[in-house]
């Protein structure tokens, strides 16, 4: 199982990183987020920023949220890649080998999550350029990156589960629009939940994006990381990874 998963994972990574347009887009898109969205609070008085965002630079607040958001967006690529393999028959090729079906699912999920990790160093560099100061607490950094990875794997699992039985190119896009935007806006990724109405604060308090963003803010704002957030993301990730692995045995078929 591990060898087959590794081989399929490497295939996904190669396919992603050999496509120059994809790599360019992965680099440019997060930069545009920070540059355009991050600059929207530039002329707001710093007293306002401090009271609402606990920092005088909105980009410092946005960086963890935007990275968490980019991890949920990569989920879409796992289902797109799966549907492509179905349409071109490559799934059949794998199914005629003795590779377990779970490894097909794992390969897609880990492949897509890896794609998301690339934006971490890029966005950190861009933030530095915009005057964000990091305190380089290594523990907080490791916990944050781990949290992002768990979020990415969990989200990619959810995507793969939803589209596992579909053959339609359009499904991942439809699902993406359905899931991503509400998930992003009902989290603390872009704004603190203190300004939310009560019902949205409730959603935000169970939204995995909030937890990943929270872990990032511990690093950026130099506060001790909340390990309960990490635990929550571990449960979130392995729950959906497990469900996906279980369903792939039944749902991944040649017809």
């Amino acid at each position: 199982m591990i060898k087959e998963t590794w081989a399929l994972f490497i295939r996904e990574v190669k396919k992603t990183f050999r496509n120059k347009a994809v790599v360019a887009m992965m680099v440019v898109q997060p930069i545009m987020w920070l540059v355009f969205f991050g600059s929207s609070f530039s002329h707001v008085p710093s007293s306002f920023l401090s009271s609402f965002f606990n920092t005088t630079n909105y980009i410092a607040f946005l960086l963890p949220g935007e990275l968490a958001a980019s991890m949920i967006f990569v989920g879409m690529f796992s289902s797109m890649s799966m549907i492509q393999d179905k349409r071109f028959g490559f799934l059949k090729r794998i199914l005629v080998t003795k590779a377990p079906k779970e490894s097909i699912f794992f390969g897609k999920v880990f492949g897509a999550s890896t794609r998301g990790l690339l934006s971490i160093p890029i966005m950190m560099l861009v933030s530095l350029a915009f005057g964000v100061v990091f305190h380089w607490n290594i523990l907080s950094l490791v916990v944050w990156i781990l949290g992002l990875l768990l979020l990415g794997v969990g989200m990619a699992s959810i995507y793969s589960i939803i589209t596992m039985r579909s053959n339609d190119w359009q499904t991942p896009g439809v699902v993406s629009n359905l899931i991503n935007l509400p998930l992003m806006f009902s989290s603390t990724a872009l704004f603190p939940s203190t300004i939310f109405p009560g019902w949205m604060r409730d959603i935000s308090s169970v939204n995995p994006l909030s937890f990943a963003a929270g872990l990032g803010r511990s690093f950026v704002l130099n506060t001790p990381p909340n390990f309960l957030f990490l635990l929550y993301l571990v449960i979130f990730c392995f729950l959906f990874l497990g469900i996906g692995a279980f369903l792939s045995r039944e749902w991944l078929k040649a017809e």
């Binding site: 081989a7 396919k15 028959g89 080998t97 040649a254």
Partner: protein
């Protein structure tokens, strides 16, 4: 010989009300090239799907390389190679990476040496690190076959191996299939709707029509079933038909006469007994699988395919208007 590689017993596959494969039984002997011949929609691809464990049968049993296709799927998969009708490769990877992926999925260690040998054999060695997306169709097909052979299978399943290929590539592939049989001693199970392909390549052929096997035997056996050689004559008015009374006349229609003969050489006897001045043309008709199919089903493969397409077309139209 004598050993059996594929053993199919009363196998059926039903999709809704449509019986794609209807209670078929046959055996494939070790080391032979076995062909499943029939028009599109006859159940050839479905049969391959069942035998490669891609799809579960509705009823019946089958054993591939000695393993049950229902209960021992992993063992079946480990012992087979599969080449689909459409070419399935990862175009973003090069030939070597495609082979490596296949090896990893089949759990083969030390695959590099046999992969190198296969590439050399198939004249692909110099394109080892070239992206498969840039390969010609013939090269892609060859690479697929190399991948199917990588796990040293007992039997290799080829679904319509030469569909859509030009004449030269087709000939190349025929030679390759014979090479697989002779050099690698692998049993080949192929499907085709080309009569000449089945005739030239296969040791034994099963003819399938509407999901049922309607004839099985070696090409020559099957041809014999369809009747032997025949001579068709075109004659001028005033031809003396009684000069042919020693022969079996199959048809006699407006100066066109069809006579059955037992062997090719008997054509000379026909020539000797008639008045050559009244003869316009003479033609030897050799038995072919076409004539077998015609005799067994009452229609040629081409007509059957057209009929099948109409059926599909109408069902499609119906679905869209409901």
């Amino acid at each position: 010989m004598g050993e059996i590689t594929v053993d199919v017993r009363d196998l059926s596959k039903q999709y809704g009300n449509f019986k794609a494969v209807d209670n078929i039984s046959f055996t494939v002997k070790k080391g032979e090239i076995f062909g499943l011949l029939g028009p599109n929609g006859a159940g050839k691809t479905t049969t391959i799907k069942l035998l490669t464990t891609l799809s579960p049968p509705t009823s019946g049993q089958a054993f591939v390389a000695g393993y049950d296709i229902i209960k021992q799927q992993k063992e079946v998969k480990r012992n087979i190679g599969w080449v689909s009708a459409e070419i399935i490769l990862d175009d973003d990877l090069n030939a070597w990476e495609n082979l490596g992926l296949q090896a990893a999925l089949q759990g083969i260690t030390n695959w590099e040496e046999s992969a190198d040998t296969l590439l050399k054999y198939f004249e692909l060695a110099e394109f080892k690190y070239k992206n498969v997306g840039k390969f010609s169709t013939g090269m892609r097909k060859k690479l697929e076959i190399a991948m199917a052979l990588l796990n040293s299978p007992e039997v290799i399943f080829m679904d319509e191996p030469t569909i859509g290929l030009d004449v030269g590539t087709r000939k190349m592939l025929w030679d390759l299939i014979l090479l697989i049989k002779n050099e690698y001693k692998v049993t080949v199970f192929l499907t085709t709707h080309y009569m000449d392909e089945a005739d030239q390549l296969c040791d034994r052929i099963a003819i399938i029509s509407h999901g049922k096997i309607i004839a099985l035997g070696s090409p020559s056996e099957l041809k014999q079933k369809a009747g032997g050689y025949a001579v068709s004559l075109e004659v001028n008015d005033g031809f003396d038909i009684s000069s042919l009374k020693q022969f079996h006349i199959l048809e006699n229609d407006k100066n066109k006469i069809l006579i059955e003969i037992s062997s090719k050489d008997n054509m000379l006897d026909v020539l000797k007994s008639i008045n050559l001045e009244k003869l316009k043309s003479i033609n030897l008709i050799t038995p072919s699988l076409d004539s077998v199919f015609l005799k067994l089903t009452g229609s040629t493969i081409k007509e059957t395919e057209e009929a099948v397409d109409y059926r599909k077309f109408y069902s499609m139209v119906r679905r869209n208007t409901q």
